[in-house]
Symmetry: D2
Subunit: 486 residues, 4 copies
């Protein structure tokens, strides 16, 4: 299982924004469940106020917390992280104070040369208080700001130094900016909020004064945040662009031009919600189209097209449409499973797969099944599911996968850091098929996937090809700041 | 939204059962999320040990809790309840001590004459320590047991007194029984657990010694508990039957004969998991068949069949199959929403519907949509969803409903106690259509629904017709024990 | 360390009582920290409402909880219990419903023949839902009430059956009673609450409407609850007396006459707060007087009288006064220690003693110390303290103890159930002295202690003599309901 | 009520130190209950590992947490803070990473010119991630370190810049330092830990491998931490001194010489534990001596000397000794009161005083009472206590106070920031007497207090005289970083 590392939001309005940011974050909760935070600029105190907490947005914020975050401009963040760093200290937004006031930053992505930058600055006498990429960015930005006095020029200088993926929302005092890396790897879009009392998101929580209806603009990792607030999708922040957002309008300029577009294809295939539109393409359409193309590339005689719920459903619908084989949901998901991983032992893992997914024997028994999922990473889960379907009496099990074989690590924001975790790395498809125990196995081809996305060469497919839009870090292993032991 | 009131489990094995009961309860977690509990007979202490807790099974039990519940025979319970009674004191199983040892009971259902029975016994000097139906049953049972000395004869006497729905698992000291009411209203099935180390559910949690692999038998509200443990479905407990369950076998007898079968049709349509087999019929098949029949009864020219996720999906698949209209999932569910109801105000409720469900505008815009769901109770949610789909640009919205119009309260275990909550009560379909704001509205007919279930007249359809298998309580309003204020 | 098992409260007023009960319970929090509860009769609902929770009173009740407990008459309880039974199910008050309405009971004490009574009733077909003595009492009471229709006559019958210690506050519907066992073993006093806005306890919590100022009467385990609420001590409930308490007055009658008074001497010596007046005698005075008598019985040449804080302080003040040796506090208590017992290993226990108590070396070094404490049970703590004082350089350590040697178990409400835990059981004083490692050891004599209490033979000194006011249970071992394993 | 702001610890040993630091922190828990943390240098990872948490030390650390903090050298901190800043982000130790590795700092005190320093550095382009003084110190230190490459020279430079009170323990990679400000305002002492298995603190928690017995040295805010671990008090860190601490020894040098000693007299009078020895003087002796001098300065004919528990006890003992008036404890403290302040309203506060303190009427009635406490700040609590004692029937109430009248704010580490909170500021003693409602009022004179402390002019008495050892901040109001709102 892969996991996205964060989602960001920023809103400027004529009314208080904390409740709207809260809702916008809930819409992108799937991008990170470890911690969350909201920062708003409180013009009465002339300060940025922040509330951060571990866990889901709905638990992190009560109506009192939102009430206390008074201000018409602010940013928000949801965070996913790998085990080690699960601490409140790493929660975002990260706020620093400088001679120009406070700066608060929310970041989605991965800075490839963060260690090098950090080391370089340390040599100049800098000290860092966290281990996050976000501190590197915001501190560089503050440094440049003290020279240029201008946020846009400062960020332009920063972007010449940092390499990697980053979609940012930034408060510089009472000004809000949205920034996207030169390749546009991570998504970031902008919407126009409705005005008037009928505006979406206008209600307050528990009678809190928050709410909205004050119009303005929103930046968010995914368009679903806009949908929830009734906002109209205006544009995607362009690769290398910095956009200033106010209650009255938006103003952007490309400050890091010249890099090729390299949108993360995994957003379309797995991370983004089915209903998100990223750089003009609807994830649902991409997935259904891949399903159809899979049916063309890997036809098979079968009785039933069965999705692995919920991730494989849209692919399976496409496959069924094109192939004419009936679609049915005969793997039933238990909706009340949050934790299973705490239990060790092979048998445990088997029962845990079954705890999540139960095959309907009566409908599978004796049937030829086309099992459709979005992707295979380690292959262990798919092997168990195939096993499950076979144990339910399937005559044949044919696996179709919406993502081409993953063979290279990702350094740009996806939690797949080492080669040896990929079942497809260094293996022929035939070998993978055997490992998984399926009668046939069809991965979508890179070409078809690219066509389904419909953005030509504008995709990052580093995890499929090992060719990345930005150079990988020197050591090309999972980064971890180390200090020399003298 | 309706809610089932509880699920029960009972297991006898040659190995410890607490871990197996834990898993069996997780499989039926959908039947109640308020509280849960497990009781096992500890033959070393010669006592019944119980662990109860508020909340989900996965949070209620740690591996230590399960380790402490040592014993090869036990019962379990998950509980749903209406607001007022959300207290640990009401959690089940309920254990009492008598001259014959301890008795522990888990109950799914509703005793219609509980108040009358309670009042009657009070007049004889009895005192009750809880307000639950379960205490009425177990106390009556203990009373009869002291007379008859035999659990089966005692329960037969109890069943002559109590009226209503009840599926029970009972520990009488170290003996386990499963009981189903004379009409068989609530489901209860029995399975044979696998023996040997390869047995499902054999693993222990965190190395706990629990686990299984010791064979034996299980009784559970739904067959999905059996599936999870690798158990084979042996039989449904028959209406009026009491079955003794041991590690070596089962022995049942009909102790309350003569009542007509009246299986709750709502189990097939909404409560039970899609993959449950109840009294021989698979819920998934029933639902898909109803979808097909809906397509026959209410055909319409449209571009897309869209389920209300997750409850309408199987119906929609059936409707799409029969009608030939393409199935697509264009209402996207946010999987991270637990609480929304805490926020008052109309606009809040609107945003909360959208928080849960987002329509994909790009695919809905200009289309004729057939919206399929399992049932309509109050109609408020459906009205909001129709509104949502229209606001996404649908040209037409046609609603198809898998359950016939609900017009009468349920006194037998479903949380629908008052007539005035039903949008279909006292209204013509045409009026409901207007209320909901749809272009056409088709409820499945009772006849077709009954055919789809396939059990003939063996169904309780009281909520559709007002005719119940057992007489409703005297006052025919939500029961609530009251004491006279002198 | 010994621990008292519970404290009770009951209040009737013309104003709501929940806040006053809350305060009254906080005043006797030392009598039990495991769980707490309040029951009030809500005359609008004509029902008894109860809130129970684990832990301290201040954490168990928020202002909302108290607001919800609307009613002008109610009872409360704090509970201590031995490890096994630490569960919310055992928290009090215990409420049952009967033909005459609801009955709620709070109990301090121990029913010696509870098992026998329980067994007897089970033979008649009764079933019990808890394992508490309280259920035995309240169920017997309900049974007798159904015969006599009169609470006083019913309780008189109950008191002829139960044997042991019990101070009770009882709600019978909207009537409040206070009851004390025939020997008056556990304390229970009655006070008159102030009327008018200036009344103590009149304030509400967080603006809650609770409060008081409505006059009325209170029953409580210790007079400190009365002090806190500004109530005037009116009387002690007499041994064998049942008192009805209303907002307007009190009316008592001796319903179990003829037993000799046997007030628990341990209340005076250890359990009760220093400022409590029990049966006319102030604990502080008793303790100081014992200290003085100790100085007479066991004079010694020394430089300093040092209390073991906080329990030995008042004794030490008395000893210092009479002996003329200067009093000083040179064992300093760390006020932030709640848990230490979780850490195993001998060295751990040593550091844990020091964590709680630090000797001031500079003042102890080279001095002859008289160390004064209230009592010695196991002797382990005292041995460690003596060791501590010696390690600080004391030239001599002389121990003086305010309670005569404890040699027999208590079956009447104190957590000392087995003989082998007493260091003084079966040992000469000289041996105990060696065990503890002190230069001299003086226990107050029984005679002097009795004189200091000043109530003549009206004391229970069972733990000192093995002669109890009521016969001990048959097995004379820690009671534990067991069921036969057939 | 005043509150100390923090306590620090540092330990170097040949064995793991986390458990020893844990105990050392528990010994000084009274210096701060808001948050706590421990940092150790893990030589395997070559990194500093930190665990921080809100709340008491005993709740913040489980045995697992301590086990994870592997390392033979480390620091710890307990923090008190004023309301606003109660957040985990402000918990200490604060760790930063630099070119020379990681640096972790624990700080007790207040940097008077922190805002100015912060502003100055911001102008140079620095950015700060917290609002704590500690970040100012550690960042300046890191900056100087990058120039000097030597911790001692770096700290000497820092000390020329910062002004205020500071006792520090610092990890610079795997080196431990203890630093005290040039005036020695806050205490900091050094002890030698015992070697061998018999060493105090050698036990592990729950079998954790931590423990000690490995000898080495400890720095701590108070000597009670040394006592608990069986360490021998070696020296106080001298004003302006920096001491390097290793497992094998200590090496200090005065790096900020020339400032007059100005030990906070409040440590002796209130903050430090009674059993602490600070700069050679035992708090208990100082307090008892002040009590005696109070008896000389303000003799009175009375029946009883009564301490306000627990803070006035030692003073009262001294007063009683010298005056010959009997000492008695007749104000009884409820040991289970943690929160009372949440309840608004005057009457509430009255009941809350009584909740904490109950006067024994029977012993006070008709008596002339000398009430002794350590200090009076606002006077509100003392007025309520006097009132309490009068309402118990005291014929006369004479108040004696161990601290001279407080009339000036403290900028050096004590939570008394504004003049208007002091009852003695701008009032004659006679007026204060009337305010408090006492028959006579005697504050110890500054001269006598100074004599009792016994360190001559080496005291900071700024709060008594308005003359501080370091210049107060420019605005001379409670500091609060503000950013200009453009």
């Amino acid at each position: 299982m892969m996991n996205e590392e964060c989602g960001v939001v920023g809103i400027a309005s004529r009314n208080p924004v904390s409740v709207s940011i809260y809702y916008a974050l809930r819409a992108i909760q799937h991008r990170g469940q470890e911690s969350t935070g909201i920062s708003v600029f409180d013009s009465t105190l002339c300060r940025i106020k922040t509330h951060k907490s571990m866990g889901l947005v709905e638990r992190a914020f009560g109506s009192r917390d939102l009430d206390k975050l008074k201000g018409n401009i602010g940013i928000g963040h949801v965070r996913y992280s790998t085990a080690g760093g699960s601490r409140i200290e790493n929660a975002q937004p990260l706020t620093i104070s400088t001679q120009f006031g406070e700066i608060s930053l929310a970041h989605n992505g991965d800075i490839v040369n963060a260690d090098a930058l950090r080391a370089g600055r340390k040599k100049e006498g800098w000290a860092f208080t966290t281990e996050t990429d976000s501190e590197v960015i915001v501190r560089l930005f503050a440094g440049e700001l003290s020279q240029t006095k201008d946020p846009v020029r400062a960020m332009a200088r920063v972007m010449r130094q940092i390499s990697g993926s980053y979609s940012l929302t930034i408060l510089v005092g009472n000004r809000l900016f949205a920034v996207r890396d030169p390749n546009g790897i991570k998504p970031l879009c902008i919407g126009k909020l409705p005005s008037g009392s009928g505006g979406a998101g206008s209600g307050a929580i528990n009678g809190a004064s928050g709410g909205n209806g004050g119009g303005g603009y929103i930046a968010a990792s995914e368009s679903v945040s806009l949908d929830l607030l009734g906002a109209e999708l205006v544009m995607d922040v362009q690769p290398g662009e910095m956009v200033e957002i106010t209650a009255d309008g938006i103003a952007g300029s490309i400050i890091a031009p010249g890099a090729p577009r390299a949108h993360c294809m995994f957003e379309y295939l797995y991370f983004a919600r089915d209903d998100s539109v990223i750089d003009g393409r609807l994830a649902h359409e991409v997935r259904e189209s891949i399903g159809e193309r899979l049916a063309e590339e890997y036809p098979v005689k079968a009785d039933m097209v069965v999705p692995v719920p919920d991730s494989g459903r849209t692919y399976a619908i496409g496959y069924a449409k094109r192939s004419g084989i009936p679609f049915d949901e005969v793997l039933i998901k238990n909706r009340y499973i949050w934790r299973t991983f705490i239990m060790p032992g092979q048998e445990q893992r088997d029962i845990n797969v079954r705890l999540k997914l139960n095959p309907i024997k009566g409908l599978i028994n004796g049937k030829r099944i086309v099992l459709v999922d979005d992707s295979i990473v380690r292959g262990t889960t798919m092997r168990r599911i195939v096993n499950l379907v076979r144990s339910a009496g399937a005559k044949e099990v044919h696996v179709r996968v919406g993502c081409p074989p993953i063979v290279s690590p990702c350094y740009l924001g996806i939690d797949m850091h080492t080669v040896d975790q990929f079942i497809a790395a260094g293996r022929q498809i035939e070998e993978v098929k055997k490992e998984i125990g399926t009668d046939s196995l069809g991965y979508i081809s890179i070409g078809s996937m690219v066509k389904a996305v419909g953005l030509g060469n504008s995709l990052c497919v580093g995890c499929l090809t090992g060719k990345y839009p930005v150079p990988p870090p020197d050591n090309a292993t999972p980064r971890k700041t180390k200090q020399k032991c003298i």
